[in-house]
Symmetry: C2
Subunit: 348 residues, 2 copies
Amino acid sequence: MESRNIRLAVIPGDGIGAEVVAEGLKVLEAVGTKIEATHYDLGAARYHRTGETLPDAVLDELRGYDAILLGAVGDPSVPPGVLERDLLLRLRFAFDHYVNLRPVKLFPGVRTPLAGATPGDIDMVVVREGTEGLYAGTGGAMRRGTPHEIATQESLNTAYGVERVVRYAFEKARSRPRKKLTLVHKTNVLTFAGDLWQRTVDRVAAEYPEVTTDYCHVDAASMFFVTQPERFDVVVTDNLFGDIITDLGAAIAGGIGLAASGNVNPERTSPSMFEPVHGSAPDIAGQGKADPTAAVLSVAMLLDHLGLHAEAARVEQAVATDLAERPTGRAGRATNEIGDDITARVSG
Amino acid sequence: MESRNIRLAVIPGDGIGAEVVAEGLKVLEAVGTKIEATHYDLGAARYHRTGETLPDAVLDELRGYDAILLGAVGDPSVPPGVLERDLLLRLRFAFDHYVNLRPVKLFPGVRTPLAGATPGDIDMVVVREGTEGLYAGTGGAMRRGTPHEIATQESLNTAYGVERVVRYAFEKARSRPRKKLTLVHKTNVLTFAGDLWQRTVDRVAAEYPEVTTDYCHVDAASMFFVTQPERFDVVVTDNLFGDIITDLGAAIAGGIGLAASGNVNPERTSPSMFEPVHGSAPDIAGQGKADPTAAVLSVAMLLDHLGLHAEAARVEQAVATDLAERPTGRAGRATNEIGDDITARVSG
Ligand SMILES: CC(C)[C@H](C(=O)O)[C@@H](O)C(=O)O
Ligand SMILES: CC(C)[C@H](C(=O)O)[C@@H](O)C(=O)O
């Protein structure tokens, strides 16, 4: 495939975000793809300076890019939820990133905390819904601060929203060797939402006779991630359950420093956004201690999404080799050294 | 402490419930405590026979007992949620079991799936709220079965409900050597409920200067359960997060076959209910394959709750010895053999 110009919006964000994104961009350039990258200073610093999280004009501008690369968002100096809701989630919602794609894959040479697990055992993709559920933000508080306070949160689930992500997950399952799809939910307690999810999976399953479907309560799934990760191939789940099990997935696949994700709008009506699963890690920010691998693997997902499959594969291969040949893990190498090493393998 | 008559209601329930409860009762008798146990046939069989899950008259009767021992509830022949909601959760709500107490403790000799983790690393207690949150059951569906369906679930959180469980957790933390309490929530997304939980913890913390308090998002907590379980001493969390992380806790502490729980009404205005964390496991029911250890440890929690601390300690010690001296785990012993072995240690 011929390289073409990628118009990329870069949001380094907070904490280690800028450090890991810099390495991601380094690798992206080494791939030989022509990129026009424009940086946007959104995050805690801008919020403190101007009170802005994501001005409407910036949101409109971002709409014009091919893709977005995001570092991390969140800082203890900002009240919980402000940057998450008004910046990160606003982007996911505004650009209808209904597929939050999170591979959980143990690369050879990477240490998993699970005794005896091998790369073949941990190789799944979590398709997390990205625009609904408890992330809708509806709810409220009454009599706040009094002994009679009540606080509510609402999970909103629509046939439209559930069906499209379930269809995406079935397509994904069909494309993989094992062709297995597991719905993770809590249908025995969240009976209304669970019923919608289960019925949708059952109905769409009829169109995919080659895909085996399975169901697992989220509590049991959390257990099986640790005791029998090989049960899972493609997992489809709601926004909150997906949030939880993908951090768990990151843990079993060698740590949050390696976990990549894509906030995908499959119809490409707006730019998709790629980001490491990890947060801004303010405790280690600015020290060159962050592992940029998750950001680099997010760049691979970005290339793949843009149809640059060979380039994506080269980046993933470079990471795989780097991981395999450094069995001591990331210890002892600074953020930019890891980035340089991967870059060298991509170029070389 | 002098033995006294315990009036115990026993609900074996479904699947392996009856098998493991039988072993729990065997051990309870061996302790030398006088028990009057009355069995209640609630569960799938009764539901199919009579359409009843938990008749009001039975609920009233149960109110008169000192405690309830429950096996497991749930069967694939019953639609999801029916037995869970109308039997198990109804009991938890009706008897105001606002503390769902779930120790996560790796016994010596037990294999954990975590490479390198030792018993000292995994020794926490999860204090899960038991009567609120998304378990309230509120929500609904509109235009069900059409492309325009919406399904909602509501998380209801009250100052009253949050404060009482938080206070219980602080008391628990104060009584333990490490005196550390971690709130697990998702305050950056569930901002209304999270704000209530966080403010409540902060306020109550002022009364417990000797307790260190910490906060962890549920996604990060799921990761840390696997990568750094030693971070946690007492965890306080809401109903759904507690459900998820305690299954994960069971996984890291040697499996669901060992995980005990108490649905506790600390004020003793109604009977508390003790049950293994595991479900009815219909796939292995009736085969003598179930591990009754979780049921036996639930009996220990029951004794402890009734003030029979020495008896509780004897049961726990018998289990600990059984586990330590059988490093091959539960394999090769039938349900009743494990029960007999523990019973022998309690009596002997
Ligand atoms: C920062 C937070 C809002 C976000 C989420 O909950 O989705 C993060 O945990 C993630 O998984 O991307
Ligand atoms: C059976 C189910 C309703 C229950 C729950 O979700 O509380 C179970 O998973 C548990 O943890 O006791």
